[in-house]
């Protein structure tokens, strides 16, 4: 009896110490991973807080002895209209996202719910455009916008991005989950097709709409090549363009200023992300797995 009990305890201690070892290993990996992923952001942030004489030192200064937050950040605010850049970026991304949500769900609804002759060919025609990378269309699009006198306007940034083939595909997939009976009942009650779409189908698709909206907004927010081609005027720059322009002309002695600009471009986005993290991640997984 005693030997069995002893054996049992011995086994359980072995298992638990093994588990403890694995736990310690995991904890170590956890910390290491977090440090590696967070360090660049930390370093950028801490650099943006430093006075110039703490920048290029040997050994490097990990925690400023002297804080010059106000100087660095107010320098950025006086040098570039960063609030304006924010507004431009936000405006372009918001208009494009709202338009994409509307056109995608409407087209998804029509393709899924209404029997139109030849609609499958048209649908394939739209989906096929996903295979063509944007740089292929970029040059003729530039010429189109130049002929429309939309170069160097914010409208030129969103007018080419009012629909999304991917969005139409995604919304059609989700329109399949809307029960036909519900729509037919409304039709028998004499509801118009548009109000059936807007009042019944759309509200049932809020989850994919939110996911698509967040995904598309992120994508538009970080656009770089197209705005680079379109925008010359300093006041019309989007945030990425503004930050690149701000950085040019500064040398190694000015990293605290450059980083103050970069961090101002980053921090609000991070706050928004931390607030709505679940939705972002769901947006990615939904859009990723449905393909």
């Amino acid at each position: 009896m005693a030997s069995i009990a002893l054996q049992a305890t011995r086994r359980s201690t072995r298992v638990s110490s093994q588990r403890l070892g694995l736990g310690a290993l995991k904890a170590a990996l956890w910390v290491a991973l977090a440090v590696v992923m967070l360090f660049p952001t930390y370093w950028g942030l801490i650099t943006s807080f430093k006075p110039p004489h703490e920048l290029n030192t040997d050994p490097p200064i990990f925690w400023p002895q002297q804080w010059s937050i106000v100087e660095n950040y107010s320098f950025v605010l006086t040098q570039i209209p960063i609030a304006r850049y924010y507004l431009n970026s936000f405006y372009v991304a918001a208009v494009s996202t709202l338009a994409v949500l509307f056109t995608s769900s409407l087209a998804g609804y029509i393709f899924e719910e209404i029997d139109l002759k030849g609609k499958e060919y048209l649908f394939m025609g739209i989906i096929a455009t996903m295979m063509v990378p944007f740089p292929v269309r970029m040059i003729p699009l530039y010429i189109i916008f130049r002929d429309l006198h939309l170069v160097n306007t914010l409208a030129g940034l969103y007018l080419g991005a009012l629909t999304s083939a991917y969005g139409i595909f995604l919304m059609r997939q989700f329109m399949k989950t809307v029960p036909r009976e519900l729509l037919d009942a409304a039709r028998i009650d004499g509801a118009g097709e548009f109000s059936i779409f807007a009042r019944i189908a759309m509200p049932l698709c809020t989850a994919p709409l939110a996911a698509l909206g967040i995904f598309h907004f992120m994508y538009e927010w970080d656009q770089f090549v197209w705005p680079l081609l379109m925008i010359d005027d300093g006041d019309l720059r989007t945030l990425p363009l503004g930050l690149v322009a701000f950085r040019t002309g500064f040398g190694v002695q000015d990293w605290h200023k450059i980083m103050a600009g970069a961090m101002m471009g980053m921090i609000p986005v991070i706050i928004v992300y931390l607030l709505g993290q679940r939705h972002f991640v769901r947006g990615i997984t939904l859009t990723g797995l449905k393909s």
Binding site: K26, W30, L33, A34, M37, P40, T41, W43, G44, N56, T57, P60, L106, A107, I110, F111, E112, I114, D115, K119, E120, I126, T129, M131, P133, P135, V136, R137, M138, I139, P140, L141, Y142, T163, R180, E181, E193, F194, F224, V225, L228, L239, P240, V252, W255, I258, M259, A262, M263, G265, M266, V269, I270, Y273, L274, Q277, F280, I284, T285, G288
Partner: protein, 316 residues
Amino acid sequence: MTASKAAHAPPLQGSRSRLSQLVGSGPTRSQTIFGWIWLTPILLYFAYFSYYPIFSALSMSFHRWSLTIPERPFIGLGNYVWVFNDPTFWISLTNTLYFAAVYVAACLVLGLVLGTLIFSFREPFKSIMQTVVFLPVMTSMVVAAQVWDLMYMPGYGILNYLLGFVGLGPYMWLQSPQTVMPAIIILSVWKGLGYFVVLFIAGLTTIPYHLYEAASIDGASPFQAFWRISLPLLTPTTLFCLVTGSIGAFQVFTQVYATTRGGPGKASHVLLLYLYDHGFRFFEMGRASAIAFILFGLVLIVTLIQLRLLRSQFQY
């Protein structure tokens, strides 16, 4: 796959055609009108902003098409021949392929390993780590490039300082032709990895837990479980990451433009930068269109390989 059930089902079967039963066959007149009224502008939009530019670019790539010269003669494959004879093109192509191969491989392997690792963490550590890994994805590429530019500084840069402790470096990073592409790849992996990790975690959540239970009862180690269960069942996710990752990687531009603009010399010149130079600095838009179609060719090859792989996946 996406074909509507209604279009192929016999008209009197299933709930989809219940309305048709009530009001006669086919969609009602008002439905048809509604459909075409709203669909037509969307279709026209695609025609004007997608199809027309694609064919226009194809046509431009066969002409000597300069923004500043009104005569635009047809020169057949002249632009393509010119591009293929330009050493800068081959440098850009090599750099782009190098970037795509290493970036995608690193993101797949690290994404898979970190995804599995993070998936095995307990809450709240799992959620915290997912947030931490995804944070760089949310960061603007320009900001990421500038932060890494700071860390890569050769003289007083923090990265060389830290690597010194493990006996590496110092490197010139973005300022040396030997290290500039690895440096751009490292910053891109840091920026993009979270996207792959999140996708792999989502893939792992779809694998039934009892498979792992059965494996552990049979005495399989966690490593074996990963190799024999997770990896095969994650194949669709892996393929998706492979294809979207490489298509994105072929179009690498922002991080190069924001740090080196192709330098030092042409050591970090990439295809899209090459296209940008010819189209929007030299205004040789015919040549730039030819470059665009070469880029398209690369993307097409990857897409076709994916389709082939997917087909063989169904057999297995």
